[in-house]
């Protein structure tokens, strides 16, 4: 019987597993890790998808398994749940700062209000101006929209509110 890592060690290790589409953001920052269970030799990580068509889910699941194996878990389990549905409100404050530094405007906190989701004021991640406008509510991945800043005349992407 090998020594299993503690819950705390696992959470810390998952901070190093990055979203393949946004490499500065860990799965923990993204808020998609729901639970870590350690029961004897059994280790289970419960996660939830961001957008349901997100093709990165399978890659993230594998990376979580590999990370757990590095920690000495022989047969890690990753369980995917849909309930409650993920919302961009669950991105951590730390995650929001990282997004902004990466040049991707963080999503507004909307608490389910469709008006805020569809018509947010999005400050430019480069110059901070609020004189920005959406040019496409769909972007290079399911979770991005495309904006333009009239102040610094830069196009930028936003992590889309969901």
């Amino acid at each position: 019987m090998s020594q299993m890592p503690s819950q705390e060690q696992i959470w810390r290790a998952l901070q190093e597993v990055m979203d393949p589409e946004i490499p500065v953001l860990s799965l923990v920052d993204l808020g998609i890790i729901r639970e870590v269970k350690v029961e004897g030799q059994e280790v289970t990580v419960v996660m939830t998808p961001t957008f349901s068509g997100c093709p990165a889910l399978e890659a993230m699941r594998q990376e979580v398994e590999e990370k757990l194996q590095e920690l000495g878990v022989p047969r890690p389990r990753v369980e995917v749940v849909l309930d409650p549905p993920w919302s961009s409100d669950q991105i951590s404050p730390e995650g929001r700062r990282k997004l902004e530094a990466f040049g991707l405007a963080p999503p507004p906190v909307h608490r389910g209000d469709p008006e805020i989701m569809l018509n947010p004021v999005v400050p430019c991640p480069y110059c901070g101006s609020r004189r920005t406008r959406v040019t496409n509510t769909f972007g290079s991945t399911l979770c991005r929209a495309i904006y333009y800043c009239d102040a610094c005349q830069q196009a930028f992407e936003q992590f889309k509110p969901l």
Binding site: F51, G53, D83, W86, L118, T137, F138, G139, L142, I146
Partner: protein, 255 residues
């Protein structure tokens, strides 16, 4: 009721999930045909997103069905012939022009949104959970396609004509979305899946005034009321293209 369903309800639910999934995967495929060909770059990106969303939703429905039947989603999509597909004919029609594509997606998006609004209250918990997940994403679809329908219908003479032509063609097909299958009555009685005639009323109450204020004329054509086992000749052609890679692949193929 979140626990075991009896065998009859289980079969009815598996059939309904197949219908939901097949609609989304075929519509997603048709949308994906625009990738690289849409009228402008922004729309190329948008339609690729819509396609990816619909295929993602299809996967959720196929997985729920797998939980009931053990049928693998990939096997279900790539190794079934047209006669075993249960999508409506509306989604298998060729992609047509941009007006046709946006109108088809709009008519489907309204149906899907109203359906999901009801499904979140399903007595079958996994179905309610999946609906809650998908519903949030649909908000972006609906806004996008309704904007395009309105803009083209009220645009130039040509864009209006193309939108009206699209409506004349699609309207009778849309009715098939609401044709009940043999198990649907039992599902509605058990509160698992909404009653399709009520759904149709809600759908008409939304799309009719919207289309009319966009100065489109709703045709008087006979609605399509055949079951989902009936297809046009377009479906086998679509499947031929969609399935070819999976079918020629051998277990040794490395990507």
């Amino acid at each position: 009721m979140t626990g075991q369903l009896d065998a009859q309800l289980q079969q009815a639910l598996a059939d309904r999930l197949l219908a939901l999934a097949d609609d989304e995967v075929i519509l997603g495929h048709r949308d994906a045909e625009w990738t690289g060909h849409a009228p402008i770059l922004e729309e190329d990106i948008a339609i690729a997103n819509l396609a990816q969303d619909e295929i993602g939703h299809a996967l959720i429905w196929y997985q729920l069905r797998e939980d009931l039947t053990g049928r693998d989603p990939d096997e279900t999509v790539y190794f079934r012939d047209a006669s075993a597909y249960r999508n409506v004919q509306m989604v298998e029609l060729p992609k047509g022009d941009w007006a046709f594509t946006m109108l088809r997606q709009y008519l489907f998006d309204v149906y899907e949104r109203l359906l999901l609004d009801r499904l979140v209250a399903s007595t079958h918990a996994p179905l309610a959970e999946a609906a809650a997940k998908i519903r949030r994403e649909e908000i972006y679809h609906y806004r996008h396609t309704s904007t395009w329908v309105e803009r083209l219908a009220l645009g130039t003479e040509e864009s209006h004509r193309r939108m009206q032509d699209g409506l004349d063609r699609l309207w009778p097909f849309a009715a098939q979305l609401f044709v009940a299958g043999p198990g649907d009555g039992a599902l509605a009685a058990a509160g698992i899946f909404p009653d399709l005639s009520e759904l149709q009323q809600a759908w008409e109450a939304t799309v009719r005034p919207f289309l009319e204020q966009a100065e489109l004329t709703i045709p008087q054509a006979e609605p399509l009321t055949v079951g989902r086992e009936r297809h046009t000749h377009w479906l086998p052609i679509l499947l031929g293209e969609m399935q070819v890679v999976a079918r020629v692949e051998t277990p040794e193929t490395a990507w």
